[in-house]
């Protein structure tokens, strides 16, 4: 157990959520013992509503009864608290840290909405547009990787870090969409660095244990797509 003695750590989450995967990877890298409390799909537990009354969303990290919300805030918190355990998730230099944060904002702002746009789009045209945006984002992230990794396997250098976790947690869903739609998001010819990075990331023991299986995500995606199609249009 990591050096902070008897601390009580719980994570409210769900197996399929890439945001929850982010928190789990960070906890695992830092060798933190925690209790994983799975929320049931479609319902919100009392504990969730009490711990995250503003957004009512997972993940929520509860450390010694104090809740921390928002996935990348949780990752940063884990890095700050368990500072003497496992690799540093953030680099030491202020500018390198700013780059990690900037590209994480980009992932959440631009990449993720276009990625899930592929599943949520009501028409083929909208789906194609979402796919183009996702590909364009990945192209920018490919360039960013070239600059930030400085020739090493991860955005974080030799070990998995903040931005690796931010983007890598979506690899399960990316593979699911590739399979369901018969196209490639990461491509050897267009994003070779990210392809190599994705392999290194998924082959990591700690990551492999929490990234959801592609087949299960495909199954879940089909259930969710049926819901989007039958739901009334959002206002």
């Amino acid at each position: 157990m990591a050096g902070s003695g008897t601390s009580d750590v719980k994570l409210l989450g769900a197996w399929a959520s890439p945001y929850v995967v982010r928190a789990r990877i960070a906890l695992n890298l830092k060798e933190v013992q925690y209790e994983f409390l799975e929320e049931q799909f479609g319902t919100k537990s009392e504990l969730l509503l009490k711990s995250n009354p503003i957004y009512k969303k997972i993940p929520v990290l509860i450390h010694d009864e104090k809740p921390v919300c928002e996935s990348m805030i949780i990752v940063q918190y884990i890095d700050d608290v368990w500072i003497n355990s496992g690799p540093a998730l953030m680099p030491a230099d202020a500018y390198d840290r700013a780059l990690q944060r900037f590209w994480t904002v980009y992932v959440d702002d631009k990449f993720v909405p276009s990625l899930f746009g592929i599943m949520r789009s009501p028409t083929e045209e909208a789906k194609a547009e979402a796919k183009e945006q996702a590909l364009a984002s990945l192209q920018l992230l490919e360039e960013a990787f070239g600059k930030i990794s400085k020739g090493k396997p991860f955005f974080g250098g030799d070990t998995i870090g903040y931005l690796d976790i931010a983007l890598g947690s979506f690899l399960g869903w990316m593979k699911a969409f590739e399979e369901m739609n018969g196209f490639k998001l990461l491509d050897d010819t267009k994003t070779p660095l990210l392809c190599a990075w994705a392999d290194n990331f998924c082959n990591n023991e700690v990551v492999g244990a929490v990234i959801p299986e592609t087949a299960k995500l495909v199954e879940l995606a089909k259930v969710m797509q049926a819901r989007y199609k039958s739901a009334p249009p959002a206002n």
């Binding site: 921390v68 919300c69 805030i73 940063q76 918190y77 700050d80 230099d93 202020a94 700013a98």
Partner: protein, 232 residues
């Protein structure tokens, strides 16, 4: 600590820029301010923020730092020995500060700009109510973060103070234009008092545009860009 000249690409009315200016001022850092025309983007802006093409951009020597909250953390970390820390001391307090900054970014601007863009009384009333709800949440956040002291950051202003404070004169301009009280002492008394304290701080006085100037600017946007008011 990295050395080098500091430049800030900004726009006078942007709360995102204002908060960076406040923090640079608070830290006593000198920089060259370069006003940008956001409707006619300069080569300089496109070169230093190719991803988003937006202000603020902090240029520190050969480094470009974009996104206001990322810039605030950079200032905190790069000049950690100078002045009071920007972010709180403990990991938990930092997580709370980041949470509320993200909440403010998510909700507040859209809400009070929504008041100015509303085309019906009903839509306007809805946005006013929404802004009240958000500010009431921030009243609660203030109670928690300030621990009885004058600012979100405690005795001195910090990350959350400038993130919210950068909106203060905009909110007052929106009050003037809409006729509605947004920062209401009956609904969010602590926040109203905090607002008065904040406006008296040097860095706020130097960086915040006047309510008059913002009101004129916002009324202009109502005509030209948002098209909710016709030109006379």
């Amino acid at each position: 600590m990295a050395e080098g000249e500091l430049k800030l690409l900004g726009m006078w009315a942007s709360p995102f820029v204002i908060r960076v200016r406040m923090m640079l001022e608070e830290k006593g850092l000198s920089y060259e301010y370069i006003e940008q025309d956001v409707f006619n983007k300069s080569e300089l802006l496109l070169k230093h923020n190719p991803t988003y093409k937006k202000v603020p951009v902090l240029i520190h020597g050969d480094r470009d730092i974009c996104e206001s909250l990322v810039i605030l953390e950079y200032i905190d970390e790069n000049w950690s020995g100078i002045g009071a820390p920007v972010l709180p001391e403990t990991p938990y307090e930092r997580a709370i500060a980041r949470f509320w900054a993200a909440y403010i970014e998510d909700k507040l601007l859209l809400s009070f700009i929504g008041i100015l863009r509303a085309t019906t009384e009903e839509a306007k009333a809805e946005k006013i109510a929404e802004t009240h709800t958000i500010l009431e949440m921030l009243e609660g956040a203030f109670k928690k973060c300030s621990t009885g002291k004058g600012f979100f950051g405690g005795d001195s202003i910090g990350y959350l103070d400038v993130t919210l404070g950068s909106y203060l004169t905009w909110i007052k301009a929106a009050e003037r234009i809409s006729g509605a009280k947004l920062l209401d002492e009956t609904k969010m008394p602590l926040l109203v008092e905090w607002g008065k304290r904040f406006l008296a701080v040097d860095c706020a006085k130097k960086s915040l545009p006047s309510v008059e100037r913002l009101e004129k600017h916002a009324r202009g946007l109502q005509v030209t860009i948002w098209k909710v008011v016709s030109a006379n």
